[in-house]
């Protein structure tokens, strides 16, 4: 089966061609440079750039894969959740291509796409497993009985996503955008025990997160410092903050995995590219007798191969979306797979 995937839920316009589980092409146009001056994503700027580039990105993906539209078995597109103007660019282009080529169309939930990113790796985890989905917009622990759902959300953030906390704290430190990458880099030479951060939302049965609390704790600590932090002090602060986020994420995800008795944990989403998270996940998993799966960094950030993969699973089941498919800014993952 050959599927074209499109992803445009936020600030990346991506297209990919998947032939069974082989990625034939994966093109990602990032808008980081466009939004850097604002220290965050500007939805209207994102929408305009998507509308300008969607045709180029699709054609590049098809050309690199040496595939023509007539060879496709389906078109998969992220139809939510996300920024509505951004989503719309990918959804409408996918509808246009599917209608013209008379190919099946399937709308994909963005988070299901992230879960599917683990299936593009070798070895790929066999469901059931637990997924820690951690990015700039989402932080959830999800039980995945099989791809396609229904999914059980074991826990999720009550306020900021982990990636958002990284970016906002980086902004407080005067670092560039996206701040999570900068904190990761500076932490390499920092002491993670130099600053003490609280354990937010503690408790063995509590799988909810609150990264707003950690962000506030960071601001309180910075009030005692001479700003701006520089040199080793800056590296120590970054390492301490990062460690607090990582330990919080992993502690809850590993406990949830043990409780699920699946023995398998996948960590997906943009924050899964964080070096400290990857290292600590593998270290801590041994003590919990859990097998951890970490997608390659290219598959962690938003991409269309993961959307094609999730769409392929649904298309293989005979599922189809109507050509009137609408983008959805809000779409609870729990709604997937419900009859």
């Amino acid at each position: 089966m050959i599927v074209l995937g499109l992803e445009s839920s936020c600030d990346e316009m991506a297209a990919a061609v998947l032939a069974d589980r082989t990625v034939r092409s994966s093109v990602v146009r990032s808008q980081v440079d466009l939004h850097a001056a604002y220290g965050g994503i500007v939805p209207e700027i994102a929408s305009r750039d998507h509308a300008l580039h969607v045709g180029f990105v699709i054609e590049e993906a098809l050309e690199k894969a040496k595939v023509t539209p007539s060879m496709l078995d389906g078109v998969a597109v992220t139809s939510g959740p996300g920024l509505i103007g951004s989503l719309l660019a990918g959804v409408e282009a996918a509808k246009g291509l599917a209608v013209a080529a008379r190919k099946p169309l399937i709308g994909v939930h963005h988070l299901e796409g992230h879960i599917a990113s683990a299936l593009l790796e070798n070895p790929a985890p066999e469901p059931p497993f637990v997924a820690l989905i951690v990015s700039g917009g989402h932080t959830s622990i999800v039980l995945v009985p099989e791809l396609g759902g229904p999914y059980e959300v074991i826990g999720q953030t009550r306020d900021d996503a982990a990636g958002e906390a990284f970016d906002k704290t980086a902004k407080s430190l005067g670092l560039g955008y996206p701040g999570g990458v900068e904190i990761d880099r500076l932490s390499q030479t920092g002491d993670p025990t130099a600053f003490g951060f609280p354990d937010v939302m503690p408790g063995r049965d509590n799988f909810a997160f609150s990264f707003s609390g950690l962000k506030t704790a960071a601001l309180r600590l910075l009030e005692r410092e001479t700003l701006p932090l520089t040199g080793q002090r800056l590296a120590d602060f970054c390492a301490s903050f990062q460690d607090a986020v990582v330990e919080n994420l992993l502690g809850k995800a590993l406990r949830a995995t043990r409780r699920s008795q699946t023995g398998r944990l996948i960590i997906v989403g943009g924050v899964a590219a964080n070096q400290r998270l990857r290292e600590r996940a593998l270290e801590k998993a041994k003590g919990h007798q859990v097998q951890v799966y970490l997608p390659s960094r290219a598959n962690c950030t938003d991409n269309a191969a993961m959307i094609a993969c999730a769409g392929m699973v649904r298309l293989a089941r005979g599922e189809r979306s109507p050509v009137g498919l609408a983008a959805r800014a809000h779409w609870p993952l729990q709604d997937l797979g419900r009859s």
Binding site: V54, F56, A93, L97, A101, K168
Partner: protein, 227 residues
């Protein structure tokens, strides 16, 4: 065969123009521009192989509406790459008014751009042909400044059209409100001669005629993070 798409307002439409000059028109339900794909699929149940060119209402208008039409067509043109004529949606409205009101000498098309600004464009009838007024081309204008200068542009029977018409007071005669919405069949008739003259272009690098910078660029507003 020409496929014409106009989605710059809440009342979008699609038209198919044939070589003999006849035009088939389909309106989309009000506020349902995203039904465009279903409508085109219905018009071309066997696929769009017979389409030789496209016409697109490029704006100004609703940013979302314009992107629906443009992005759909970019996807469609991936399969059937054909030349496209990108026509001002204001020019389409002006053409409709001139067709209905042969005695009109000018048509000023306006829509509300908020913050006491208007998107406006003035069109003149010159020896039977409609052309844009180079003094007032499609663009973003200050409401008070535009209103103050209306008297300077008197050229005969001057008509006002577009959803911003009510903001300009009663100094100009308003065209029938039924003519204010740009229609795809008018677009198809305007585009056909341009396309026959080889003035079509590729669609890949096409952008809507926003005529306004994003609000965030003007004010520095920033979304709090990823959704």
């Amino acid at each position: 065969m020409l496929l014409a798409i106009e989605t710059s307002t809440r009342s979008g439409s699609v038209a198919v123009g044939l070589e003999d000059g006849s035009v088939t028109f389909e309106s989309l339900a009000s506020g349902r521009n995203e039904d465009l794909a279903e409508t085109v699929a219905t018009l071309f149940p066997e696929g769009g192989e017979a389409i030789t060119s496209y016409a697109l209402g490029i704006g100004p208008g609703s940013f979302t509406g314009l992107r629906v039409g443009l992005c759909f067509l970019k996807g469609y043109a991936t399969v059937f790459p054909r030349p496209v004529a990108a026509i001002s949606s204001f020019r389409v409205v002006a053409e409709q008014v001139f067709e209905a009101e042969p005695s009109a000498s000018s048509v000023l098309v306006v829509i509300d751009a908020r913050n006491r600004e208007l998107l406006a464009g003035r069109y003149l009838k010159d020896q039977g042909a409609v052309r844009v007024d180079e003094e007032l081309p499609d663009g973003l204008y200050d409401l008070a400044a535009l209103e103050a200068q209306l008297g300077d542009w008197r050229s005969g029977r001057d008509l006002l059209a577009g959803e911003g018409a009510t903001l300009l007071g009663a100094s100009l005669e308003r065209a029938d409100a039924g003519l204010w919405v740009p229609r795809a069949d008018t677009l198809a008739r305007l585009a056909a001669p341009e396309l026959r003259a080889g003035k079509g272009r590729t669609i890949r690098g096409l952008e809507p005629a926003y005529l306004q910078r994003p609000t965030a660029e003007r004010r520095g507003a920033v979304h709090s993070g990823k959704d």
